[in-house]
Symmetry: C3
Subunit: 481 residues, 3 copies
């Protein structure tokens, strides 16, 4: 008996947790798997390893407040007691999805949207909708100034180019174009034809009118919290040189700790306990996750609206500025009437941005996890440097902007006053390099204590001052009679 | 008894697989190990962990067709029943290796070549010889146009520079220069002196006249399939900015899945099962490996001739083009009679490149593994974008090439018509930046769905359009009286 | 009984080693933990996983010579028999630390210095003090030439900028500014206010007058040898493009082996056995660690003075040169009387640099670990290429330097003879790009056999020759009447 008990203990330790009795599948999901288990073994295997396949919503809702992964108060009866399988997501609200089609007697839609996920995860969906990222498609494509920047960069307005370039991250607008009959292993079948597909950008405009793609970070079909908490996910869009967050992170002390020790960390725990589950922040610790200390006190509340911890937006356009209040940044008007968060001289478009009290609150929220490893003097010392750097980089951007405005004024370049694209001539490109790459790199390096090479030599201060010399050289060349 | 059986089971689970009874070693290999186990502990330890040390060819040949790692129908009798040790490879075909020398009464050669490996792995060696990579030395050094590019880049023709630079990846030509006597721990010994050594480039010209180095990817002395299947191996030569495959991969959704989940994957299985053994493609999945689905159906046949899955060569010289048919690209002649796959205006050197039917077959082969996780509409949507991007990047390269040809025509630069190097003057360098770095980066980002930063900001479209402005600026400066 | 013994064996294998009976804590440390375990769970958890928490100095001193991690002959009695906890480090030598303050009746200092660590690790502290890195603050800030370079790069002399930029790696000078009373969870408490804090740069000037920060590499509060041996630690300061060591490493064969196989390696063993504990060098293997072969012979002695294995300094200022003898490089005078290791034409400041015999010894020391996997001909072949590349890159730097000196001579730029900053004008920036980024990248790629993309296309030879064309273009433009 003793031996048997020990054996079970040992086997329990050896076997992966996935072997806990799996919940029943719905008949519809069983039907899907009959063909797709062989047709699409990769995604079915991912799903089988997911929490969706190993728990029912009813079980998930029994967790204590801090440990809950499902934020719904109630879940529809028919979904409560089976695993969350293919059919549970791909057949929800069929009338609302333009791509719903008959598929072996089931009304299926291809593109699952945040509104589908919200059946079990309404808080996360709601928070995310308050996020700049949820509006990433609109904020780029419906802002005429950014449209000029996009045109100057891609020199194409072809939808296939857009989908391959900016909208890869910003999200495409999905449009149902029609139906198509295809020959398959199971005979002729009809499928929807969707323009803008495939796409997993964070601001995707979906076929039910909703915005976003949870699978941008919670990669299909495992939809894993662990994977979203690792910095590789954020790297998909934030690698640089415009937003060099990942590069800076892996060069920082925090990133070093992650790289060296991640094999010992537990990325799947809810709540996520500093010290016990992880030894240094990943992107998610600072920006999104529910983090507690070993006493169970909340150091940071979970929020998929990242501005709850972001006093500033350090991705300069062209200056750093208090974070926008509304996720729809096309509503902003600066003093010149342009839809930009600052004026050409750096003055913030005040009414549209977080005020001092809101910034103070966001700063406090952000600092919660810092204080799990650092005392107040360390944290304050860090923030003092960071906020100083915001001013200094803005000064450098201002000096460069003045040079470009002078060129617009005296006709060496055609500026916005003449209806010209302010981002496409040589001097304008030099100017863009400065604020889009170098000032941003310096700020990210400072914000994330990535210091060293990224703040100085890798697209940082070295390049910012070199850029100043290049602009000066271009000016001098223009003046030569 | 029950306890004992259980203990064995547990120990079996706990102990590394390498403890399975090791096969006998040949007397010759025992002799090598007597000294080299202490002299070179690193490589001996690697070999002891290798399959070569843990299996005999006879055992390896009993595997079923899909599981076989040895492609030979028969292996010489004397090699069948011992481990594949030092002597088994380093004493093969002594008369054919120019570096064979007497070493403690054994005739040993230093450089093991693909022809040696072909004793057990003839299919892989044969496929590899059909690969551009096998000819990488010749394709660079025997092409006069690429020779000019190499000269413009390295500004040196010293063999030590070549070996340190281009030929690190392309492979050196090994030449026996003589013999040398060295004082060693075991007294005076004579060794061959080999120019071009060390080198593990894929196109190395060996001392038996063969081409290639299996150890480029199957790193000595473990010669591991697992390591070759991880993207770090390909990164040795394909990191950028000319061929930014690794950078794009790790930023893509596929690379994110690899980075986050690789600790759960099995890189050593043959055949390699999508979903079961791995959850997203690495380089090898798409380009080389035998991949099956969970039903055992072949999704992609193994081939070390990568063009079997490559309709295009997207590394532009200067344009993207259908993949060359023959691995020896020095045979190509474009319409102007130059050994280039396209003409200056982008017209492909048709007779030398894959035709439409061959491209369609290569595309089909490449898409096999895609369909393990994606439906047809996803895959087609991806390829449509990719092929659109090929046209668009070629258009951008064409516009830049026209500017340079105009400079050659009107004497602002000295072009090939004047016998000058077309790659060394300032305007020519700007032009090279465009096709060698930026157009290539855009294409790799598109091909591998790496989108985001690599297709736009990190040497992508931002830099391509900036390059256009720089070329325009250079033109304007030249025109100033 | 048999079953029980087996169970213990198995549990021993399954449980992490940290559960070995923990040594007693001092009363003072128990006192610290009472509050800080909850206040700072991250660093307390790190410390609990550390060897400091799991061993006493007395136990550590029983290890055999090669296995010892503590180099002190004797340790003060009061420290011998408890774990090395909070109080053991933060209360040492209170009178010598300017930041010592009363904290709940204990005299605590915030900043632990190498002189504190030297109580148990005197050899390492002594060696480190002979290292350029220990003087990194002074070598940058007290050298007037480098001061001009810093000014040209950062365009700021603000201490917050310095701390965020260059001194992040070089180390800040810590200065006690006063005392501050803060409201805490435990009521009002007084703390020291320290300018330059936080900082973990290798050349930090501490509040006890000592130099350095052991935590730069042995990250607090685990102070792990394993983490310091992984390349991510070195990456914090050596990533590029000025010192692209990490980028080159991960692209080299050695880095590929590390990336693919590190999960099988043992990073915590002392001594560190080639083949058994690791399969390829990390930074530490070549530059610092005690490395032995499987027979226990020493292949490289441990030294925290990295010049013991470095014949050259390949980080050119602006030329590569024999490694400086004295860690204080402000003492160097070149033939022109400047504090630079070479003259403008490349002539080394001989009396201040390693001589031929010292270089030969350093080379021999460095080659010890090479020979664990490579025979003499491989190693010699590698070094021959590397030393050839030093000459070739110096030639390229010399050609560029002559162009800049000509510009200084004829007034196209204002050089040092006129008291001007030699690093801030456009032609000077082009020149800096060449020696600071491109020549360095080529040398690092060669030194670490990273070849391929980093030596050629990623800030290597391609950019070095392009830089030459850019300088030529700038010259031609200046000559245009």
């Amino acid at each position: 008996m003793k031996t048997f008990g020990l054996s079970m203990l040992i086997l329990g330790l050896l076997l992966p947790r996935t072997t806990a009795a799996a919940p029943p599948l719905s008949d519809e999901t069983e039907g899907c798997l009959e063909c797709h288990e062989t047709l699409h073994p990769g995604i079915v295997a991912d799903w089988r390893r997911s929490r969706h396949a190993r728990t029912t919503p009813a079980q998930a809702m029994t967790a204590s407040a801090l440990a809950r992964r499902v934020s719904a108060e109630t879940v529809p009866n028919n979904l409560q007691s089976t695993a969350v399988g293919c059919a549970e997501c791909h057949t929800l609200r069929p009338a609302e999805h333009a791509d719903t089609f008959e598929h072996n007697d089931v009304r299926v839609h291809v593109v699952v949207s945040p509104r589908d996920c919200a059946v079990c995860h309404p808080e996360e969906a709601e928070q995310f909708s308050g996020n700049l990222m949820a509006l990433a498609h609109r904020n780029l494509t419906a802002n005429p100034v950014y449209g000029l920047l996009k045109a100057a960069i891609t020199r194409s307005s072809h939808p296939l180019t857009d989908a391959d370039a900016c909208l890869y991250c910003h999200g495409t607008r999905l449009v149902l174009e029609g139906r198509q009959t295809r020959e398959t292993e199971y005979g002729e079948l009809e499928f929807p034809v969707i323009a803008g597909w495939p796409n997993q950008g964070t601001g995707r405009v979906n076929l039910d009118g909703s915005r976003g793609a949870c699978s941008a970070c919670h990669t299909r079909h495992r939809f894993s919290i662990a994977m979203a908490r690792k910095p590789y996910t954020c790297k998909e869009c934030h690698v640089g040189p415009d937003v060099p967050a990942f590069k800076v992170y892996t060069t920082s002390k925090h990133g070093n700790l992650f790289s060296a020790n991640q094999h010992e960390w537990r990325f799947d725990e809810v709540p996520w306990t500093a010290g016990k589950d992880f030894g240094a922040p990943t992107c998610a610790v600072c920006h999104i996750s529910l983090v507690v200390n070993t006493g169970g006190d909340v150091l940071a509340a979970r929020s998929h609206d990242v501005k709850s911890r972001l006093p500033y937006r350090i991705f300069g356009l062209p200056y750093a500025h208090p974070h926008p209040r509304d996720p729809d940044t096309t509503l902003i008007r600066n003093a010149s009437g342009l839809p930009l968060p600052t004026d050409w001289d750096g003055r913030p478009a005040d009414g549209y941005l977080l005020d001092a009290a809101q910034r103070a609150e966001a700063r406090r929220n952000m600092q919660g996890p810092c204080l799990a490893c650092h005392d107040r003097s360390w944290v304050d010392g860090h923030w003092k440097r960071f906020e100083h750097v915001l001013g200094e980089t803005d000064d450098a951007v201002r000096a460069a902007t003045e040079k470009v405005r002078a060129a617009w004024a005296d006709g060496r370049a055609s500026g916005p006053e003449k209806g010209a694209n302010p981002f496409d001539e040589w001097i304008e490109r030099l100017w863009s390099d400065g604020w889009l790459f170098y000032a941003n790199s310096i700020r990210f390096a400072s914000a994330m204590a990535g210091g060293g090479d990224y703040g100085v030599f890798a697209q940082g201060r070295y390049h910012m001052s070199r850029n100043r010399a290049a602009l000066g050289q271009a000016e001098a060349a223009a003046r030569t009679p």
